[in-house]
Amino acid sequence: MKSQYFAGVDIGSTMTKVVIMDQTTLTPVIGPTGPEHRKLANRVMEEALAKAKLSFDEITYVVATGYGRINVPFADKQITEISCHARGVGHLLPDARTVIDIGGQDSKGIKLKAGRVVDFVMNDKCAAGTGRFLEVTAEGLGVSLEDMGRLSLEAKNRVEISNTCTVFAAQEVVARLSEGVALPDIIAGLHEAIATRIYGMVRRLKIEREVALTGGGAKNIGLVKALEAKLGFPALLPPEPLLTGAIGAALLGRDIVQEAAEKGETLVRSERRLTEASIFT
């Protein structure tokens, strides 16, 4: 029987993630979103197709998710990132009951039961609980975002960052630097500050073990450790935390196709076009 392929396209605020899956293989591509790339999700998709050695017509179903999901003309369906993260985590880490997703622009808490969402909370109002907080402060410290986690583990005497506003916190860390405070101690303080905000939000859900961490924030070991300290137990991490939403999107696409087949229904698909999105169409 010929393989069926499903694509998940997760357009986040900073990164665009595409996965192509069949029953046994998974081909991922991650590219930056950025202001100019937002309308060019098709390029990331083309890259994934090339990597998987497939043509676009061979993809049975495409699901788009993330902030930019509406702007994907080649998707058959748009599904919220909450549902896609839940499906992705349910597949990758079936023991997880709570998901904490730390994205570039927002953070979310998701409560799962049998791999499906039963409740959620989101912070999309304040950058201080998101990856943006670390981006801004890393820039102020002259440290690359990738190095922040590693450096924070070298902290000897973590400082308290009292400002909860991202802009003012960036000023505060510069002031701390000029006081001669060691860089790792400042970075550890930043991780503590963001972990406190995220944990405070997710606690609304009555956190249940196991807890999975996803999104770009889950790639930062310093933030992971700070959150684990709040939780009081180790968190689960998927192999590639950035891909959970895209994997979930592909899996939900597969679910849709399978459900239609089981019911003997004709699959409704969009008139999809592998072109860039335009605000004029």
Binding site: Y67, T80, A86, R116, V117, V118, D124
Partner: protein, 447 residues
């Protein structure tokens, strides 16, 4: 200059009922009537919703000017920002109640110009004869707003009515103290009448007051009967409409017009139920608006919920009344109209107390949610945290968590924005949250 910016014209929002659609012109007429009263030299009183003394103002032929209503109109027309910015320039903090900021910004501007600010929504809010505060524990602007407004209108006197009600506690029988509260409120109302007679020269018409007290009782009962019709499946009316039909409840109480409005709405809902005509054709999820004032500039979000198959048959917001028939005292036996008003006020607040005591660990606000969830067959809860309204919104998350603890877990959504400050609102993010909530409802229903 920001003060000269004019808002864009917006499309009219779709309502399910004709009654709700008729509200816009009624509110406009209400504002025009106050402007006309000013021209004719009639006494005008700035006042607040749920003030309990509607009958007193009407019986004394004093024209009420509802300041929260006018701020809400500015918000709904997306024209509040210039008044908020003006209040901020007068050193009022942006984190204060934005209704109050809008009103203070507007009134100070009008007084400075000696005429209405340019393009004032619906002709503007006129200078009052008196300002009537009404503190009720929960909302500090109800005392402080008019005090601040006197900076710009020093010749307009303020009278502050204190309208407390018993606190709730598991181990304390509020019945023992209700009478003391009534006594206090009656004294407050007598003081109010003395003040109004002195300031306006209008004498209380006691016979008229008794008639209006009876009219309010009947209107309360009719409103509860009418809103209970929304239990029908599909529901014939949602919270989006109720944010319109709150107008006769909050701004027209003690008038025949309010009673007639609900008589007509009652008939309209019965007709829709007979024809099985719902807010939407395919009702999938029934939600409760479980607390929080709405974002007046974003009422279209209710239509967005509808487009996803969700309806709101019930809400707690602006349902600031109970049926007088259900009280544990017979109001009709209380002949003194002021005592009657005071008992109605206290009983409206304590109505849920006895019910809450029957469920271990419950609380009146939570018990009310539970009762509505059962009566209206609710699948999920939506609340709105308006950042500038601390007094009404603090405790919402606690209520939600407590409900889940003592009753059952159910999908919930917290929206975050403001009542009239549009800078707090992001339509894309709000709708992304609504989409995710709908996904959650679907997942829970499928289980």
């Amino acid at each position: 200059m920001t003060e000269e910016k004019k808002p864009e014209e917006r499309k009219k929002r779709r309502t399910a009922t004709e009654a709700a659609a008729s509200i816009g012109p009624m509110v406009k007429a209400m504002i025009t009537d106050v402007q006309k009263a000013r021209e004719e030299g009639k006494p005008i009183a700035f006042t607040f919703i749920a003030c309990a003394y509607d009958e007193i103002i009407r019986a004394m032929d004093i024209v009420p000017s509802w300041v929260e209503n006018y701020a809400g109109i500015c918000g709904a027309k997306r024209d509040a920002q210039r008044f908020l910015e003006r209040a901020e320039s007068l050193n009022f903090s942006r984190s204060l109640c934005t209704y109050a900021l809008c009103g203070l910004g507007f009134d100070s501007w009008r007084e400075e110009l000696g005429e209405m600010p340019p393009d004032a929504p619906w002709g503007g809010q006129v200078k009052p004869t008196v300002m009537l505060g009404s503190g009720q524990i929960l909302c500090d602007p109800r005392n402080k707003w008019f005090q601040a407004a006197q900076h710009y209108m020093p010749d307009v006197p303020v009278y502050d009515v204190s309208l407390p009600y018993p606190a709730y506690a598991d181990d304390y029988d509020f019945h023992e103290t209700e009478g003391y509260y009534v006594k206090h409120i009656v004294e407050q109302l007598r003081g109010l009448i003395d003040f109004l007679e002195e300031q306006t020269g209008h004498k209380m018409d006691w016979a008229r007051l008794e008639e209006l007290v009876d009219l309010v009782d009947r209107t309360y009962d009719l409103i509860v009967d009418t809103y209970d019709l929304r239990r029908a499946i599909p529901t014939p009316m949602g919270t989006g409409d109720a944010m319109n039909t709150m107008v006769p409840i909050q701004f027209m109480m003690a008038t025949q017009q309010a009673y007639d409005f609900f008589t007509n709405l009652n008939a309209e809902l019965k007709d829709k139920i007979a024809r099985k005509e719902g807010v939407i054709e395919d009702e999938k999820y029934r939600l409760i608006w479980g607390g929080g004032l709405p974002s007046w500039f974003a009422l279209g979000d209710f239509n967005y919920f509808n487009s996803k198959g969700a309806v709101f048959p019930v809400e707690t917001t602006y349902r600031t009344l109970e049926s007088t028939r259900d009280f544990d005292i017979d109001l009709k036996k209380i002949k003194d109209p002021l005592e009657h008003i005071a008992w109605r006020w206290v009983k409206t607040w304590t109505y849920w107390y006895d019910k809450a005591r029957k469920r271990p660990g419950s609380h009146p606000d939570v018990e009310r949610l539970i009762q509505y969830i059962e009566d209206f067959k609710i699948d999920g809860i939506v609340m709105h945290e308006a950042f500038s309204c601390r007094s009404w919104h603090v405790g919402l998350i606690w209520q939600l968590n407590h409900l889940k603890k003592i009753y059952r877990d159910m999908p919930s959504l917290i929206l975050e924005s403001d009542i009239i400050d549009i800078s707090s609102y992001n339509e894309a993010d709000t709708r992304a949250r609504i989409d995710a909530f709908i996904d959650t409802l679907e997942a829970v229903k499928d289980r």
